[in-house]
Amino acid sequence: MTIPLADLVTILPEMIVVFAACVLLVLDPITPPSKKDWLAWMSLGALVVCFFITGATMNDRVFAFSDLVVVDAYASFWKLLLYLVSGLTILLSMTYLKEEGIDLAEFYGLILLSLTGMMVMVSGADLLVIYLGIELMSIPLYIMAGFKRFEARSIEASAKYFILGSFSSGILLYGISLLYGAAGSTRLADIAVAVDARGLEDPLVLIAMMLLIVGFGFKVAAVPFHMWTPDVYQGAPTSVTIFMAVASKAASFGAFLRVLLEAFGGVKPNWNGPILVICIGTLVLGNIVAVVQTNIKRMLAYSSIAHAGYALVGLVVVGWAGTEGAVASRGVSSVMLYLAIYSFMTLGAFSIVAILRRGGLEGEELEDFTGLSKRHKGAAFLMLLFMVSLAGIPPTAGFIAKLYLFMAAVDAGLAWLAVVGLVFAAVSAFFYLRVVMVMYMREPSATQEIETRLALTPTTTVVLACAVAGVVLLGIYPSPLISVTTFAAIPFR
């Protein structure tokens, strides 16, 4: 069997990332510790190259490997977002890993491998390819979650993530196998034909679909499949938490949307009910439980659950009976816009947690932020911006994200869902604003003044600058991003 060159060219970015990861793992043992930063720069270089390749081929719609892989505007959009997030994670880790004393270059290799998995996920046109992508994404994440190997909490996070993650992969695989039974193929297009032929009521299709929803529900951390999220996000090293909360969530949403639309596009009424229930449950639980958290990482974990709920509003719009063509495509683009903006603000908020140091540890308790505005004005102000954006208050990007999402909802005749979403946005303002309150309205204690500092290096500064630029510029001038997401949603019109 020969592989046509054209197919390999199609997956050039994936190959570059894998190649870079392998080179990194080889070079790691022979690089002197003082030169380890070079490995991080090398992986960043690979990402920049991929960014340009994917950006240049965004207009294409190419199938490869006998329709197992598709590179279209939709996949390219997610890939661009993933490069950006991975790059910023690497930049942050260059400082963060040193601060934590876990400065191992494998880390960057694992990030790149996980990124490859995510790229495969969003490009997969076949359930097995998507499944492979999910596993390739998850296994490095299991390792990275336990990277603070001397800390019980980190090990626990790793083990918990591994067990629940494998379990959800199993459920996903079971669903895929049932669909293979129904369609005789795992290709999304073939499944769509079989699903259409069997119709709405067929139990095999129904069960398989539910299993897939459960499996993806785990990956995007939607209620009631969110149980692992708070512990894992809290226990994992913060730069890994960022990668999980942002990149893995974005990739999972990318694959989830494609599977629902391409394989189950003909039976929308079958899945919009369960998705609606999951969506509302996620909004309610994520926002309400976040209110009682005193650890910022844990609070942000619940906030990331809640934001998955908002993104799910877009899925409900897409699946809502009677929404066709333009409306459905607006639903898709609003999900993409939401997750892109979510990435900037969540990345920014977690980055502040990562670089605020108390002794040798992270300042991750709400208490550590007491009076931050007196000690580190800049950091406090950035955190304020991220919190305001997460709460969806203008003129930040978080508002634009919510505006588009709820606009799509109202367009689909779901004004009541927009009301539910916005009511819980008001609830979320309570806990986001509490961080602002602690930073600005409480006096720092004497010991805090001495003990806490900011690990501000050129790389972390770049990360914060990118995050804040995203939050502010996309809030004031979102047009470019909106046109990109609108364009990227065209395959689903």
Binding site: L384, I393, P394, P395, M407, A415, A425, A426, L433, S479
Partner: protein, 525 residues
Amino acid sequence: MTDMAIPSGGIPWITLVLFLPLVGVVTILLAKEELAKWIALAFSLVVVAASLPLWAMFDVSTPAMQFVERHSWIASPPINYAVGVDGISLPLVLLTTFLGPLCVLVSWTAIQTRVREFMISLLVMETATLGVFVSLDFVLFYIFWEIMLIPMYLLIGVWGGPNRIYAAIKFFLYTLTGSVLLLVAILVLFFEGGQTFDILALSKAEYDPSLQNWLFWAFFVAFAVKVPMFPFHTWLPDAHVEAPTAGSVVLASVLLKMGAYGFLRLTLPILPDATAAFTPIIMTLSVVAIIYGAYMAFAQADLKKLIAYSSVSHMGFVTLGIFAFNAQGVEGAILQMVNHGITTGALFMCIGIIYERTHSREIVDNSGLAKPMPRFATFLVIFGLSSIGLPGMNSFVGEFLVLIGTFLWSKLAATLAALGVILAAAYILWMLQRVVYGVPSSHMAPKLYDMNWREMSMLLPLVGFVFWIGLYPKPLLDVMHASVNNLVQQEVRVMTVQDQPVKNTEQYVIATPHPSSALLESEAQ
């Protein structure tokens, strides 16, 4: 009704006024902390100067939006940067710009910590409130409406009194929750009103009455919390008591007007049928607010709380006038918004001045100030009398017009509201009696000294406005006439469709253009 855009090559005055405070913010960030208040003062004065051309070049003969600027901001869906003023928004814009420098001056010595951040918050606040008054695009309106929350939250929470955190969070959650439904209503209007966020275009579109009912209540909650109308007023006394003086001034003088302005600019023109249907409920709530606010003001021992409850009462007049729906009522309401901004702002400044000396806002601690602080006592009496609505002073004109308007709508409501005027006289005079002429409290005596030039300079302009509006309100009313008549005639059209022709004669009376100014001119002579 077409817009009167600024000629190409002309100066975009509104944009200048709107964003100069933000230029000030950047300047403050770059300059030394000691210079912060000077820069804030300079920029707020420049904003005043930049807003004067709006007044000077305003064409009073047309109800159209003037100085309009439109630029596409987001192409799809179409969200524009569209700003402009008409006779309804211009008085409020000017009120906001004029209070800007006064807010800086009142904080000159009162704010000692984090001066830079304080001045930044004030200037951001100014941009946000001005933005609400000049926006012609609904999304732009909502954005400014929400931006305002953050600086106000910080003003109360960082520089406020002992219970400031509670008050700040209460303020924030109340107003944010109130505006949740507003956003959904905006989105629904977009799809029902022809895929546009243009407020003027949305005002012209027709909506299904049952949809209007839903939208009305969605608007109502957002605006009623801001006004605040009874029973949504409970955040106000807390916020006022805890806020620093400048925060209280902004809150009372400008922020409360945003809600009333929302009723005028959005509820009335966009939802005329629902407005007509629910007017009795709103009028009842307004009358309750007038009486209840006054009643509560009686019981307060804290000066700021007293004025806060009097605000609830005075804002009741504003909503009463708006929903009376005739030229007199609406003009009276707008005038009363300006008056309340001047008088209550000044009263809060006065309280700030004594608080700086005695560090107490309790009436018992601050009694008998006429001897040690004669200048202060004079000012307090003037503004107190203005608050009562003494003829010759500003509030009299506004309340009088509102009462005429209300009388045309319902004699009972007008009678009950007039009772509120009497109650106001009682609680303000009682307060003046104790504070100005009461027995001086001995332990405060050494701390008292009379007002200095800075303090005089911030109250004197307000005295000028009190008497100017009280004696010769014509220029201000002239600005409003065209826009208000246009608004009211639109309402009359709706009411004539709904009601039977029997009432037509009465409506003709209502729609008669401004008999009020003639009346007031004779009053003034």
